[in-house]
C-alpha cells in the first residue's frame, strides 16, 4: 500500500494550484476478526478499509476532508479531484485560522513491518485445540495496518505493521473469570498454551466461595492490567496542554499552588521510541523519542499538538490532535512482584478494573469497578475471589500519599480497542501496592 499511497500523494501534488498546500494522512488495514463464545466460534469475518484525510490550505484558510479509498487508482483519483474541488470551494468563505501550524521542514521516515503471521486458519486451529471444552470468550484480531503522511513539501512518512491480538477471558460461572491477552507479531502456539494454562490455574481459585466485603478502606495490590485502566482514564485530558490551559485536566491540583504531587517513584512518559504507534502525526511533525510528563511525582511537561502550540505560544512536541499518549510508560519501581501477595498481607489483589470515570474531575477523584479475577488475601495467602466492588478515590491518594511501592517488573500491554480501526497504542507499566483504597458499594 505504500507505493499506492505515494502515487496518490504525487497525484494530489499535481492537482494543486500554485498558492495551495496540502497535508494528507493515509490509514488502512486488512483485518481478520474472529469472535469466540463458550470455546467456539461465534462470528468470523474480514474487513479491508483504506481512508485518506486531506487538509487543503491556502494562506491561513483551510478545510479538511476525509474519504474512503477503493484501492482502484482511477476511481480514487476521481474521488480526490472531487474532494479537492469541494474543499477549494469552501476556502474563500472561511476565516483565517489563527492556530494553523504544520511542518514545513521535510522529515521523511519509513518503518516497514515484516509479515511473520501464519495463515489465520493455522492460528484458528491452534486456538480451538487449546481452548475447546472450556468457557472461553473473546476476540482474535489480526492483519496488516498502515499509516502514512504526505505533504506538498515532499515529505513522505510510512509505518506498517502485521500484528495479532487475542483478547480473551476464561469463565468459571456468572461473572467469575480470568482475563488474559496474547498479542504480538510472531504467533507461537506454546505461548498461548502457557498463558491458557496460567489462566486455568487462577480459575481454580475463582471456584472458591466468593468473599463479600463491606464498604471501607482496604490495602490493595493493583496488577499492571488494573493500573493500566487508571492511567488510561488519566489519558483523557490528563496530559494535554489544551486541557491544562482550559483547566479541564483531572490533574488540575498538580498545576495550581499549593501543588499536589504523586509519590516520588512515579515517573511517566510518552515513550514513542519503545511504543508501536507511528512516530509522525497528521500535521507532519515527527515525535521526539520520549516526552516526560510526570517526573518523580511532579508535573513535568504536557503533550503539545501543533494547534495548541500556536494558540498558547509553546513549541509543539508532535502530539496528536487529542494530546493523549499513545505509548505511555510508567517507570519501574524496586519491589519484586514475586513477594507481592506476602507483602499485601491482608487486602485485595486486583487483576482488572473496569468502567472508570471521574466522580470529581477537578479534584482528580475517580471511581470504577473491580472485574474478573479479584481476590481477597489474608496473611499473605489468596483466600477467595471477591465479588465486584466499587472504588472511589483521588489519584493523589492512589499514586501519591497511599502508594507503598511499584513493582520492579513491568508488563507491556497492547491496547485491544478496535473502534473504527485496530489500535496501535501500548503501555509499559508495573503493578502498584497501595496502603488504603476507599471502596463504596
Amino acid at each position: 500500500m505504500q507505493d499506492y499511497f505515494y502515487t496518490l500523494a504525487d497525484f494530489i501534488s499535481s492537482q494543486l494550484r500554485k498558492d495551495e498546500i496540502y497535508l494528507c494522512e493515509f490509514s488502512g488495514e486488512q483485518s481478520d476478526f474472529i469472535r469466540f463464545n463458550r470455546g467456539k466460534i461465534r462470528q468470523p469475518g474480514s474487513v479491508e478499509q483504506y481512508y485518506l484525510e486531506l487538509d487543503l490550505i491556502r494562506g491561513n484558510r483551510h478545510a479538511i476532508g476525509k474519504l474512503t479509498l477503493s484501492s482502484q487508482l482511477r476511481l480514487d483519483q476521481d474521488r480526490i479531484v472531487t474532494l479537492l474541488s469541494q474543499l477549494r470551494d469552501q476556502l474563500p468563505h472561511l476565516p483565517a485560522d489563527p492556530y494553523l501550524l504544520y511542518a514545513t521542514e521535510v522529515q521523511s521516515t519509513e518503518s516497514i513491518g515484516r509479515n511473520d503471521l501464519p495463515e489465520t486458519s493455522i492460528i484458528l486451529a491452534d486456538i480451538i485445540d487449546t481452548v475447546q471444552h472450556t468457557d472461553f470468550v473473546g476476540i482474535y484480531a489480526s492483519g496488516s495496518s498502515f499509516t502514512g503522511f504526505a505533504n506538498s513539501f515532499g515529505q513522505r512518512n510510512w509505518h506498517s505493521r502485521y500484528s495479532f491480538n487475542l483478547d480473551w477471558s476464561l469463565y468459571y460461572k456468572k461473572d467469575k473469570a480470568v482475563k488474559t491477552a496474547y498479542a504480538g507479531f510472531n504467533w507461537e502456539k506454546i505461548q498461548l498454551q502457557n498463558k491458557f494454562s496460567n489462566a486455568l490455574t487462577q480459575l481454580e481459585v475463582l471456584k472458591y466461595q466468593p468473599r463479600v466485603i463491606k464498604p471501607g478502606q482496604y490495602r490493595v495490590y493493583l496488577a499492571p492490567t488494573a493500573l493500566y485502566e487508571i492511567l488510561q482514564l488519566l489519558c483523557w485530558n490528563g496530559f494535554g496542554l489544551k486541557a491544562q490551559q482550559t483547566k479541564e485536566t483531572p490533574l488540575l491540583r498538580m498545576l495550581a499552588e499549593p501543588k499536589q504531587t504523586f509519590h516520588s517513584s512515579v515517573t511517566l512518559c510518552e515513550n514513542t521510541a519503545d511504543g508501536l504507534s507511528p512516530i509522525f502525526q497528521n500535521q507532519g511533525f515527527v515525535k521526539p523519542n520520549q516526552v516526560t510528563l510526570i517526573q518523580q511525582g511532579a508535573f513535568h511537561a504536557a503533550l503539545v499538538s501543533p494547534r495548541s502550540a500556536k494558540e498558547y505560544g509553546i513549541t509543539t512536541n508532535g502530539a496528536n490532535d487529542e494530546e493523549s499518549p499513545t505509548s505511555l510508560d510508567l517507570a519501574a519501581g524496586d519491589f519484586p512482584s514475586l513477594n507481592i501477595v506476602e507483602t499485601l498481607d491482608t487486602g485485595i489483589y486486583i487483576n482488572n478494573l473496569w468502567y472508570l470515570n471521574y466522580s470529581d474531575r477537578a479534584a482528580g477523584r475517580i471511581t470504577g469497578m473491580t472485574r474478573f479475577a479479584t481476590f481477597w488475601v489474608e496473611q499473605g495467602e489468596i483466600i477467595a475471589p471477591l465479588n465486584v466492588m466499587r472504588f472511589d478515590e483521588t489519584v493523589y491518594s492512589l499514586l501519591g500519599s497511599q502508594l507503598i511501592a511499584l513493582t520492579a517488573e513491568r508488563e507491556f500491554i497492547i491496547r485491544t480497542d478496535t473502534y473504527e480501526k485496530r489500535s496501535d497504542h501500548s503501555s509499559r507499566l508495573p503493578g502498584a501496592l497501595i496502603a488504603a483504597v476507599s471502596f463504596t458499594l
Partner: protein
C-alpha cells in the same frame, strides 16, 4: 449507485444458503466555533459494503470499500471461506436460522435541509451563540458546534430482499467551562444528548438559540455553589440524566447477546437471565419502557434493522414487569424468546449485533411542579457528566453537571459536583413519580460502545422527569 451494485451483486451471488449485501454511504460535516473562532470544517465521505454468507450451517462476513465487480467478488469469496473454516467449531448452527428477505424503504423526515443554509450562514449561527457563552472572565473556554450526518443504506439478499433507508441526523453541541483556582465547572447542552433525526429545524425544536447564555450563567452559578451534600434522599432526574440511567441500567442489561454471553470479554454480562422474562419485577408499577422506532425525530428510528427485520414498537417493561429482551432475529432464535428488530451495525465495516435502538421510558401523569412539591428533602439533577457501572450492569455511580436541592417542596440551593450511586436491581423499584408529557424529551446517546470488533453507535432515549426515593447522594472533594 444502488442499481450498479444491485446488478453486480445479483450477477455474483453464489450458490449458498443465504447471502446478503449491506451497502452504507455516509456523508458528515462538522462545524465548530471555539472561543469565537471558527475551527477548520471537517467533511467526511465514507462508503463500503459488507457481504454476509451462510452456508451449510456456517457464517462468515467480509467488508470492503472496493465496490468494483472484482472487489465484491473477492468479498464474497472471503465470506464463503469463513463459513467453511468455522463449520466444525461454530457456536451456532446457522442452517436452522431463516433470515428475512424483506422489501421496503425508510427515510428521515427533514423540514429544513442542512444544505438550505450555506456553511457561512451556519457558522454565523454558531458565532452568534458563541458570543453569548462568555459573560465574564471566569468563563475560560467555550464552543458551539453542529455535526450533520447523512447516511444511505441498502440491503440486498439472494432471495429478493431489498431495503433502502436514508437517514439525516443533526447533533448540536454547546460547552462552557468556568474556572476559579482549582474549581472547574462545565455546562453542556445535555452532554451530546440533543442529537435527532431531521434537518436544521431541530435547532428551533430544542431551543438551541439562547442556550449559550443560559449555560454560561449556570456554569457561573455552579462555580459559586457549595459541594453537593452527602445524604440518602429523594432524587429527581431531568430527561438529560434519565437517558444515561435508562441506557446503562435498563438498556445494556436487556441486550440479549450479553445475556447469552457474547459480550462477557468486553462490554460485560447482565444480571438479567433468560428465565426472568415475563415475571421479573424490574421496577415499580410506574415503570413502562418501550423499544420505539416510530418517533420520527429520534436517533434510532428506522424501518428495518441491519438483518432486514421490520421495526415496530414493543413494550420491554410494562408496569414494572420485565417482558421482552433487546434481541434481534438471531438472538431470539438462540434464546427462544420474542425480541425486537435491533441487530444493528455502526457502519459497513462492522457486523450487526444486538444494540439498543430507541429505548424510552413512557410518560406518566405528574407535572414537574407536583413532583417537586411532594418532596421534603431531595435533589434535582440534570445533564450527565460521569457514568460508571459494573459488568453485570448492576452497581452504578453517575455524576451530573447540575444539582439543586429540594427542601420542603421547593427547589432551593444550587450545588456542584452532584453524584449518586445505587444498584439497578433495586433502584427502579424506588421509582415513585413519573413526569407527564410536558416533561418528556426526545434525546439520545451518540456513541454507545460495544462489540468485538468494537462499534460505537447512535441510540435514542426519550424520557419524562422521574423521581426516586432514598438514593445515596454525594458531592465532590
Amino acid at each position: 449507485m444502488l442499481d450498479l451494485i444491485k446488478q453486480r451483486f445479483h450477477k455474483l451471488v453464489p450458490s449458498v444458503d443465504f447471502c446478503s449485501l449491506r451497502y452504507v454511504a455516509q456523508h458528515s460535516e462538522n462545524l465548530t466555533v471555539r472561543q469565537d473562532i471558527a475551527q477548520p470544517p471537517l467533511y467526511h465521505d465514507d462508503e463500503g459494503v459488507m457481504i454476509t454468507v451462510i452456508h451449510k450451517g456456517g457464517l462468515g462476513y467480509a467488508a470492503t470499500s472496493d465496490l468494483s465487480e472484482t472487489g465484491l467478488r473477492q468479498a464474497i469469496i472471503k465470506a464463503t471461506q469463513w463459513t467453511q473454516l468455522n463449520q466444525p467449531n461454530q457456536l451456532i448452527d446457522f442452517s436452522k436460522l431463516t433470515l428475512p428477505h424483506q422489501q421496503g424503504e425508510y427515510a428521515s423526515v427533514v423540514r429544513k435541509p442542512w444544505n438550505s443554509l450555506s456553511n457561512q450562514a451556519k457558522f454565523d449561527l454558531l458565532y452568534q451563540e458563541s458570543a453569548q457563552c462568555h459573560p465574564n472572565h471566569k468563563i475560560i473556554d467555550w464552543q458551539t458546534a453542529l455535526l450533520s450526518i447523512q447516511t444511505e443504506q441498502f440491503y440486498l439478499t439472494n432471495q429478493g430482499g431489498e431495503i433502502q433507508q436514508t437517514h439525516h441526523y443533526l447533533l448540536p453541541y454547546i460547552k462552557v467551562v468556568a474556572n476559579q483556582y482549582v474549581n472547574t465547572q462545565i455546562r453542556t447542552l445535555g452532554g451530546h444528548g440533543y442529537g435527532r433525526q431531521g434537518g436544521l429545524e431541530i435547532l428551533d425544536e430544542i431551543g438551541f438559540f439562547g442556550k449559550g447564555q443560559q449555560l454560561a450563567e449556570e456554569a457561573l452559578q455552579l462555580l459559586a455553589a457549595p459541594n453537593c451534600p452527602t445524604h440518602r434522599m429523594d432524587l429527581v432526574l431531568a430527561p438529560d440524566q434519565m437517558i444515561l440511567q435508562i441506557h446503562e441500567s435498563i438498556g445494556h442489561p436487556l441486550e440479549l447477546d450479553r445475556i447469552l454471553g457474547d459480550e462477557r470479554n468486553y462490554a460485560g454480562t447482565s444480571f438479567v437471565t433468560v428465565d426472568m422474562f415475563g415475571h421479573y419485577q424490574y421496577g415499580s408499577n410506574l415503570l413502562n419502557v418501550t423499544y420505539d422506532p416510530t418517533l420520527p425525530e429520534q436517533l434510532a428510528s428506522y424501518g428495518f434493522d441491519d438483518d432486514g427485520l421490520p421495526a415496530e414498537k414493543v413494550y420491554l417493561i410494562r408496569q414494572g414487569i420485565l417482558i421482552t429482551p433487546l434481541g434481534g432475529h438471531l438472538s431470539q432464535a438462540r434464546a427462544r424468546l420474542a425480541g425486537v428488530a435491533n441487530a444493528r451495525a455502526t457502519n459497513w465495516n462492522r457486523p450487526p449485533i444486538d444494540r439498543m435502538a430507541n429505548l424510552n421510558v413512557e410518560p406518566g401523569h405528574t407535572r414537574f411542579e407536583e413532583i417537586i412539591h411532594t418532596i421534603e428533602r431531595g435533589i434535582f439533577m440534570k445533564s450527565n457528566s460521569s457514568w460508571s457501572i459494573d459488568d453485570s450492569r448492576n452497581k452504578f455511580q453517575f455524576g451530573c453537571e447540575w444539582g439543586q436541592l429540594i427542601e420542603n417542596g421547593e427547589l432551593t440551593q444550587v450545588v456542584k459536583n452532584p453524584n449518586y450511586r445505587g444498584i439497578s436491581a433495586t433502584f427502579w423499584r424506588n421509582l415513585n413519580q413519573v413526569g407527564n408529557r410536558e416533561t418528556f424529551e426526545v434525546l439520545g446517546v451518540p456513541n454507545c460502545g460495544k462489540g468485538e470488533p468494537n462499534q460505537g453507535i447512535m441510540v435514542g432515549h426519550a424520557s419524562p422527569v422521574c423521581a426516586f426515593t432514598q438514593v445515596d447522594v454525594f458531592g465532590g472533594s
